[in-house]
Symmetry: D3
Subunit: 240 residues, 6 copies
């Protein structure tokens, strides 16, 4: 368990724009606050209606740069072709052991979103477990690592889990909103079909209005959060 | 909404020992950390099998002193006779306006515990709402106050709500456990019937084992918690 | 059970602006489509921070007129003072017998909103049941009436029930949005404190984006809906 | 999204009799109303205690004919041998693109029924998503298609999902009940072991009694239903 | 806690026919097995569409006799006029202390049934708690009593709770079904309006078909059941 | 369905110590009561931080002997490498047909525990279904078998399902606790890392305190339990 505040963050996305759309404002908040953040993107968006893999890759790199995160790609079978398997879970577990993050971000496991999202969420969840076990032969050579917390983000409102500990992150400061908006806009190929940017800004505004701030993003904890005191809990979203 | 860390805490209990049994370790953690904590106890335990009202009052005062909290009493119809009414809710709302706490603690509204517990939880929840409205005539003369967060505690494991944001507070430091145990033991009249102290210590130990600490106490947030960054969330109870 | 399409609508609100904020767009959709709609408002908002009862009454009448609905007032103990009682339920049941509506609208019974909202929701739910029973002496002289359906609206997003059949009404046509916005703006006294109009328009836009329409409002059915065929069900909100 | 009432219906069944037993009355209601309905049956029932694959195939064809539906067969690994895979999901997605249905029917994803049922439900759900994405290479040559709604049926009462929007279809008219009963009876090989026909008729009668009609069948919406007005919602099952 | 098998049963009903319709077959099973059963009926059905209070009382007495149970009446405000209050709860608690039952039966607390049903369920639940506390002054003179278990029955399918431990009682033996059917038929005044008897027999048959028996009735445990071994658990309703 | 009390018990564990830690006290209760119990252990714990496969096998055999159970091993891909497949499910179904148990025990399907636990739970659930179907070709030569009940145990508190029928088994007698504790201690290799034995004993003590007994273990029924009378249900855990 991380004992200091200097933990790093590892965020997984199924498609080149999922992290930005689902929790880009949270990423900006962390990197602007000095935290080291890495992205792992698990496809090149090759089944989407718009954008070539090369274009999607460029967009993802540019978006990560705008958010101050590093980015690497991996392949879990291809966009719209993810399948959950232990071999893939172990690949993700190796990445967790290599990066030794304090917090991991992944898409929620709500089954009714894009099939790849929930599958990636399930694989990351399992990967975070296997990264801890000392005897897994495929992971030898990398020291076991127990992450501090796995947080799920929801790429769309329909993917927000109703049965997990939920909270919101205030992303109102203008520099954060600017970085987030720019990172979403970097995925220009996706603007043709759907109003993703407006969807996310509207959702963040609605969450912000509920909390009495400008904009906010919901996240969902896989493990019960542990606190040392009530101090971090003194602020609730109950404004109306 | 409280803007500094110096908010105070107001805890409501239905019977003289409920706060101590349900979340005494959390109280000790806060007072030992320098926070100002007040208790409002809403009966004298006059329907219990053991202990006279006078004895229960003495025990409650001594327990509050051991925890470093001030204590006052109010009457909501008598032990085992609570009834939810707007007049009583307004009485609690006046106390909230007077104390201007950042965080309020109340028993959970899970209906299947002692009937008084859930009724008090519901009345405190409503009181925290009414304390904010500027035009409530019974509250005139006291400035409206919006609390930062309402947290529910569970006097028994069966009263833990399954549908609210849940987290645990680490109460392991020996001075905290000592203060908590002493405060529970101060309710000597209740030791005759049931193993309340053992119940709570066993429960805190089980929650501690799950988090990799010595002892921990679960709490439940009525309002969605809002954070400014991921930093407070880097520690999860997932140890097994 | 109503056998034709010409049923009328009866909407209950706890405070002068609740119906408009919670489901005003749905009301506009129905009245612009030729349906007869009546409002029953159960307080004059006399505990609110802003606005006198007289001012609130004028605003409510004007808003109802803008939506094409008739309005009458009743008193359930006063704003912030509602208490659930059979006598009050029977008063509401008389109104249901008098109006003989096909559909009744009421605020949801989710307990964590303004206490009056959930209390009114529970009383309307009970009133709709008692309106059917032939032998209730306080209701004599008015013919028993079984409504077709009770629908709950949520004044705020936090009051949306998670455990009832949920669906959305498309309120995108410009004349509907214009009428709804004007009706919300008619409650000018409430604009001082909170961004209610922006909250509702943001929420309707988010629901609209999810459905691929401009704006939409969620409702919740108290009784399982019965259909004669699949035809009305061929349109889902799953756009992302 | 289908813009007219003339959408067609595509129903998937894991075994030769699942559609008939789970929602045959709804099928009859639609075909008797003039709608075009196609069945896709995903095994020949070859692991059942009674009936050969040839016999089961004949029974399925005859039942579909009695219901006025066309029928085709596909193979997902064999009865009791279904496994969820992207390749199979894409096969189902091709069928959806070919048929371009407005509404798709599939067995519920409740995990505790026959394992094949939930697996097929999950694959159809994913197939309906993939059918929309323009770049999926295995689907090239068939125009992307977004269905209007995915509805789940429950082959047995234990497979009824508790967490989805639920409603019932009135199937009382005698010609509908006759067609449905005949279609179930066409699966003569299955009558040896269990009282499937009595189970379904008893269940439809119980649902009918609850709604004040003769017989009714419950269905469950995967996507939030969108309506243009309250008119279709004026009839509820609350009769007792 | 009852230590022998010879515990008695106390069943509460809101209206003269509720116990019979909701769980009459279970009552017959127990009395035919030699158990002593008492009914407490809390109104005379005076708000119903059909039947005078005198007629309803006669019907209730005859039905109880057919089931082998004793019956007494109490008044909680009158049919359709129940209100939850501590005074009424204490009245029920006195009855529990007087009868000292091992098991108590009450209508479920699901809020969406007849309002009286859920109110009675809540009052009996509280009464069973207060009956245990030694110091309740209104209960003096009657020895405290802790019941073994509180079981809820559902008068209609819509009142079956989804969140409690659920199980079914096999009521198939012909003498049990005969006694139950006769007891329901004894409420002749109610046969005019609704098909209550058919509703209950259809429901019992559906539950029976699911278990592989003729007829079965669902019940719901308020307290977690405790067993000494797995032996009583070797029979499940999973037949389809 | 088993018709006598002499049914046997078949318990599945993913790793060599799971059955002991999750429900060892229940096993001891049954074997000491004369019931025949068999264990199937599905890995040798080869990915654990401590203990070699040979050592883990010896420990498992010794623990089973201490509990009076027979033990056999099977391989589902290796520790931390389980994958759900029909071939593996059929292997488990063969074991069920061979053993013809009345009750089967398996780890819960709650997804958030060790990934292997939930996967085994799902495979056993499916295996119990397939064991019944007469035409499954891989199972030929072994007579179809319908088990009486599938019960889930939870290896850790976090794996306790919230949505299944739950109950507890009293395991207080000293000979039972002695056998259970010895069986857990037999897994000496696992004592190095985590306080598993203390976790389980603390958990059993907390459950015991809630029921008024010394120690108790929770179990979860996959199928709705069927009883012939209320007699087994007269004891509830509601002590506080």
């Amino acid at each position: 368990m991380p004992t200091t505040e200097n933990f790093s963050l590892l965020a997984f996305g199924a498609h080149p724009d999922d992290i930005e759309f689902g929790c880009g404002g949270v990423i900006a908040r962390e990197t602007l606050g000095g935290r080291s953040v890495s992205f792992v993107i698990c496809s090149r968006g090759e089944s989407a209606t718009h954008g070539t893999p090369a274009q999607r890759t460029r967009e993802a790199k540019r978006a990560a740069a705008l958010l101050g995160a590093t980015v690497e790609f991996t392949d879990l079978g291809g966009d719209a072709h993810f399948e959950v398997s232990v071999a893939r879970v172990l690949r993700l577990a190796r990445m967790i052991r290599r990066g030794r993050p304090g917090i991991v971000l992944a898409p929620s496991v709500v089954e009714n979103q894009h099939p790849d999202h929930a599958k990636l969420g399930r694989m990351v969840r399992d990967a975070a477990r296997l990264a801890r076990y000392g005897g897994v032969k495929e992971l030898r050579g990398l020291k076991p690592h127990a992450i501090g917390q796995l947080l799920f983000y929801a790429v769309t409102p329909g993917a927000e889990p109703g049965d997990l500990t939920r909270f919101v992150i205030d992303v109102s400061p203008p520099d954060i909103m600017r970085a987030w908006t720019a990172a979403m806009a970097a995925h220009a190929s996706q603007a043709a079909t759907r109003d993703y940017v407006e969807l996310q800004l509207t959702r963040a505004r609605l969450n912000g209005l509920r909390c009495g701030v400008e904009h906010a993003i919901p996240l969902f904890a896989d493990g019960l959060p542990v606190f040392n005191s009530l101090e971090p809990l003194a602020r609730s979203a109950r404004r109306f």
